[in-house]
């Protein structure tokens, strides 16, 4: 309890020192004075990924649940979340996508001391944006996320959105051994320098997917969260036309995805509106065909035989109210560039930063496999990470991200949402804001944001193996 007290004090000190006040100055004030109180205990546990009649798998869990409990918060209302660490190793919680004070961001060493075994940390923030977010560890990320630690965080709009059902699919990907337990071998060189630890069993909300029962005529808001370590997904809803209404929690102009495929990389969220227009009694596959030659049916939409809920789809717009994001001033923006380097088939560019000179295979013997602007920051975050660049508070930043590698990278920025301007020279339509921007091999992305939140913030690839092996950097807002 002593340590509990200590961390409690230090958090308040940090808040008073400026971070909390600074954010509240640029974000809308809380609507209510009452504070939501939540608590999460992290501990080893058991879960039945295959269903109640299947053998159980040893996992690490938030409140004994995989995924962790759904945190449903109100936009603009403060929440205080007490996190207790019942693991045998340090942990932290990162509230992925929430624009919050730096001291609440959950990066060990950089924004807080790690929560040691048996200790407690109190996170306190006021979510400024409504939308679909999630939470996960930022300590020993590869192992802790890979053993099941992930949970959904939904911030409700002030006014309810008109849909018949609001559903969530938190997608996890497990590498299971033949005995149904989580396979060892975390952090192998091949995974580190190629596509990361992609697994062999995908779950929806912690279970092997069963059919989703639907009714003709209903409108569903489906919140997709990719909480996998490394598995990219490209989802197609056969016979249906999903409308993307938000990406990474931020509403966009409603649109159909290109070729009807929803590209959902690790840590990304996509909210879709689905008007169920199939015939009563019909069944339609939801297919993930991201990896060539490895397409599979994730689940099926199974229509009830009852008569349609309504004769015609709802007339109401599927658009969501926009969040209070500050608009970057591009004409006066500071320009910075991030270049992603390394990996298998990286052309030996990593020589000198961990890759073996003259060899095509970096990442051997636990060394760095990747770099950003020639610098490999490995692990989960630690004290003394020198910022790649510094921004004056309130300045607009025009950020170019250049993927020189042969691999896909979902690049996640902490503390901000990025207005995505263009991809490979072509403007990105639909007013998309993202905290996790998926880059295909050789992609060049232009994006922008307002540096309204002071602190040292992380920018890293969310393929956990890639982050651990060097695809990470830090920038500072003064």
């Amino acid at each position: 309890m002593n340590s509990d007290f200590k961390y409690h004090i230090s958090r308040r000190d940090l808040l008073v020192a400026g971070a909390g006040l600074a954010v509240s100055a640029s974000l809308p004030p809380a609507r209510a004075s009452t504070v939501d109180e939540r608590s999460i205990k992290i501990a080893p546990g058991q879960t039945r990924l295959g269903g109640s009649d299947r053998p159980s798998t040893a996992v690490w869990a938030y409140n004994s649940a995989v995924p962790g409990p759904k945190l449903r918060l109100r936009q603009g209302r403060s929440v205080r979340i007490t996190v207790e660490n019942g693991l045998d190793e340090d942990t932290t919680v990162h509230w992925h996508g929430i624009r919050l004070p730096n001291a609440m961001d959950g990066v060990p060493g950089l924004t807080q001391p790690p929560i040691k075994p048996g200790e407690t940390f109190v996170y306190e923030f006021t979510p400024p944006d409504a939308g679909t977010f999630w939470y996960h560890p930022h300590t020993d990320s590869l192992v802790q996320l890979g053993r099941g630690l992930a949970g959904p965080l939904i911030v409700d709009e002030a006014e309810p959105v008109l849909v018949d059902r609001d559903l969530l699919w938190l997608l996890q990907d497990w590498r299971l051994a033949a005995d149904g337990q989580i396979a060892g071998g975390f952090g192998g060189a091949m995974d580190a320098s190629m596509s990361g630890r992609v697994g062999n069993a995908v779950t929806i909300n912690g279970r092997a997917p069963a059919d989703l029962g639907v009714r003709t005529g209903e409108r569903v808001r489906l919140r997709l969260v990719n909480a996998a370590l490394a598995r990219m997904m490209a989802l197609r809803f056969e016979g249906h036309r999903p409308i993307v209404v938000a990406i990474d929690g931020q509403p966009c102009d409603p649109h159909e995805p290109e070729n009807g495929r929803l590209l959902l990389a690790p840590a990304m969220r996509i909210d879709i509106a689905l008007d169920m227009q199939g015939d009563p009694g019909s069944r339609h596959a939801v297919i993930d065909d991201f990896y060539g030659g490895l397409a599979y049916t994730l689940t099926n939409l199974a229509y009830d035989k009852v008569s349609p809920l309504r004769a015609h789809p709802l007339d109401a717009s599927v658009g969501l109210p926009r969040n209070p994001l500050p608009e970057p001033d591009l004409a006066n923006a500071m320009h910075h560039e991030i270049v992603l380097q390394g990996g298998m088939m990286g052309g030996g560019k990593l020589a000198g930063v961990g890759g073996m000179p003259g060899m095509g295979m970096p990442g051997m013997n636990g060394g760095a496999a990747w770099a950003i602007n020639g610098m490999s920051m490995t692990g989960d975050g630690h004290a003394g990470m020198a910022p790649q660049f510094t921004l004056e508070r309130g300045a607009s930043c025009h950020l170019t991200m250049r993927n020189e590698t042969a691999w896909w990278h979902p690049m996640h920025v902490h503390g901000f949402s990025l207005s995505v301007l263009s991809r490979n020279g072509a403007p990105v339509p639909h007013r998309q804001w993202q905290d996790t921007v998926l880059m295909a091999p050789k992609d060049v992305i232009e994006c922008a944001f307002v540096a309204d939140n002071p602190g040292d913030w992380m920018l890293h690839c969310h393929v956990a193996d890639h982050q651990m092996a060097g695809l990470m950097t830090v920038f500072r807002v003064k």
Partner: protein, 146 residues
């Protein structure tokens, strides 16, 4: 007798230059679905008398481990051919040598994806060691040096 006959036929098959219509050696390649250098290697094998059935897999390290490849020799693909495992960009003459000699091993591997090897770009700048490995837990031994 049968085995001797088969070996002799195989030796004949792979010691003579192959005309286009010659019989081919069937091989199965397990590879990361996103890796293109493996495809370059598969094409190299096909140019040299093999028929390669490519099987993409997302848990290659588990497949390779099941095939008996030691973790520190594991490459971005594993090829099963003639009852052996070939891991990494092993030059085709070494593969053929193994198929003819028929040693009592599980397979051979060349770690590290060196520049200039089949599948990788660039010039060969050093000598390569191809290791033989077995499933009995003994340390790999050098099978060939190129």
């Amino acid at each position: 007798m049968k085995l001797t006959y088969r070996l002799a036929a195989l030796a004949l098959l792979i010691s003579t230059p192959m005309p286009a219509f010659a019989a081919t050696i069937d091989a199965v390649m397990y590879k990361n679905p996103s890796c293109s250098c493996c495809e370059t290697y598969a094409a190299y094998l096909e140019r040299n008398g093999f028929k390669v059935d490519i099987k993409p897999t997302n848990d290659l390290s588990q497949v390779s481990a099941r095939l008996g490849v030691p973790a520190d020799l594991e490459g971005c693909h594993s090829v099963v051919v003639g009852g052996y495992v070939v891991d990494g960009f092993v030059p085709v003459d070494v593969v053929k040598k193994m198929l003819v000699e028929h040693p009592a091993i599980t397979g051979i591997a060349m770690a590290g994806m060196p520049m200039g090897s089949p599948g990788m770009r660039g010039q060969k700048t050093e000598s390569w060691k191809i290791y033989a490995f077995t499933r009995d837990g003994k340390a790999p031994t050098v099978y060939a040096t190129e």
